[in-house]
Amino acid sequence: MAGWLRTSAAALVCFVALVLLGRVLPNWFVLVATLAFAKGIVALGLVVLMRCGLVSFGQGIFFCTGAYAAGLTIRLLGLDDGVLLTALGGLLALILGLIIAPLLAGYRGIFFATLTLALSMIAYGILDKVSWLGGSDGFNLHAPSFVGYHPATPQDVSYAIFVLTSLATVVAAALCRIHFDSLRGLLSLAARDNEIRVEYLGASVRWVSGMNFAVAALLAGIGGALSALSLGHIDPDFAFWTTSGEFVFLAILSGYASVTAVFVASIIVELVRSYSSQYFPNTWQGALGLFLLLVILFLPQGLGSLLLVRRGKPKSQEVRAESGK
């Protein structure tokens, strides 16, 4: 079976399983999973970037763009269709990404990271001070509708958002998987290994990193809109550096070998966070830090390496590329 067919079939099975699971699992877990998936989509975007050797410490700027696009559309225009809002959030973040991409495409390493950080902190500063955007308190959103369906109870709302998030998650994951295995996707790994070689072979590293940046922006926007809908509240913290740092954390934790690992990692982190804030209310940040240290120390390639080894196929293209370094 062709690779893309198999991936699409797996995605479909995952989606059906998630929709069914969402009915069975307790409500609190559905909420946690929704947020984890929404953040996972953003981290997936970072994984796309990481494949060409770039790490952005400022995905918050696109995350907040998606969230505020959704929120302001509800508040100012009165449109509250969840699907539309998510698409709009992604679209606006993509446009912003395409504007910024040419500026950033020439930067590498720590300079790329710090410049993206600076841009997202400028966004934070603006959101924090402009009163019609809600100022530092942000604003609340009322529950969205879904293509004509108006959920009645809060449980129904959270389930509907969960289904929408799951849909976005599996579509994004499947598309990324197909992209990663394509020639264009593998070019990113080549650029990560040796940019000069790629240029000499006739491909443009600027173009590759610019496109990856735009994809990462789109995914961050979608994740932002979904997070906003799920939380029902938006504030400037969406653009704060801790938020962006969390996405980097997720991306490093999952590694770039596996797409599934991103969402597994995201759920683990969300659970660690909610459990440790419940049981060690004063030291949960430290617990999270310790967890991060242990993962970086003992799982250098992220959780994804674990999944690949277990499946017993270290011959996938990525791993070969990695071991060839």
């Binding site: 390493g109 720590i110 902190m121 603006i126 550096w241 004063n282 940040q285 830090g289 970086i296 120390l297």
Partner: protein, 299 residues
């Protein structure tokens, strides 16, 4: 005229402590290639230790009042000696082969851990170490009244900068450190004990962070959250000045200090993001910061 003077003087005072902290960060980056996120926590540790020590010293009437400054200095030294070697040898050493972004995350994890450790030790209530602040009296400049301590801080920053420059450029150890900054592998091949230089430079970086914390402690209320504000500012200073450049850190501290005080006086709501605006502008024009040549390193 008064406004301009106020902006200039406030900026200068702001730049002084910022320089002390940021130059430690830039030194650590230059030598170890680590952008230390936990630098702000080390600043906070210095501030807390100094606040406790000052409280103990003046509370018990232990000695003459002016010796309080030496108590603060000792507090910074204690933090550096207790934390520096432990952190570098015990933890950071394990990650040197990894990507520099991974190292940023490692220090971010350390920052989270130190943040909670500080809360566990000192609690969440603010500490005040006001005694040394008023000790030097007030001064009047351009018709503006300032606490003399603030200008002593400027003096301390100048002294730190000059001593650091002399230490790096006029002593054998300093030249060895510069050699390691320039090329780690060749220095090692020439017989330099690179590990020793790492411990030394990192501990000195910790000392500078703690020193900045200890000497700003009398000006502020020492409480949780100070580390975040400091790390973001010194991060910007270091990036503007060029990672690893001492001169760059000095100029950039001045730029950031002046930009912030101008924003506070003219447009208070822009205080937060003017620093990042400056940083983005500098990076857009000079991707490696203002003083990139001094950081000549191989890739």
């Amino acid at each position: 005229m008064n406004l301009a003077a106020a902006i200039f003087l406030d900026g200068l005072i702001d730049a002084s402590w910022l320089f002390i902290v940021a130059v430690g960060l830039t030194l650590v980056f230059g030598v170890l290639n680590i952008l230390n996120f936990a630098h702000g926590s080390l600043y906070a540790l210095g501030a807390y230790t100094a606040a406790s020590a000052v409280g103990w010293y003046y509370g018990g009437n232990i000695g003459p009042a002016f010796l309080g400054y030496f108590v603060m200095l000792a507090a910074a030294l204690v933090v550096a000696i207790a934390i520096g070697p432990l952190m570098e040898r015990g933890l950071l050493r394990l990650f040197y082969r990894r990507d520099e972004v991974v190292l940023v995350l490692v220090t971010y994890a350390l920052f989270l851990i130190l943040e909670d450790a500080t809360k566990l030790i000192w609690g969440v209530n603010p500490y005040y170490a006001y005694e040394p602040y008023g000790l030097l009296g007030d001064v009047s400049l351009f018709g503006l009244n300032y606490v003399a301590y603030d200008f002593a801080l400027v003096g301390l920053a100048l002294l730190t900068g000059v001593l650091l420059w002399l230490g790096l450029n006029r002593t054998i150890t300093g030249k060895v450190i510069l050699a390691v900054i320039h090329d780690r592998e060749i220095s090692g091949a020439m017989g330099v004990d690179v590990n020793r230089v790492f411990v030394l430079a990192f501990t000195f970086g910790v000392f500078l962070a703690a020193l900045g914390g200890a000497f700003t402690a009398p000006k502020i209320s020492v409480q949780p959250g100070i580390s975040i504000a400091v790390i973001l500012l010194s991060f910007a200073v270091v990036v503007i000045g060029g990672l690893g450049s001492v001169e760059g850190a000095a100029i950039a501290a001045l730029i950031v200090g002046l930009a912030r005080s101008a924003a506070i006086h003219l447009m208070p709501s822009a205080e937060l993001f003017i620093v990042y605006l400056v940083m983005a502008l500098v990076l857009a024009l000079r991707p490696e910061g203002l003083f990139q040549r001094t950081t000549a390193r191989k890739i």
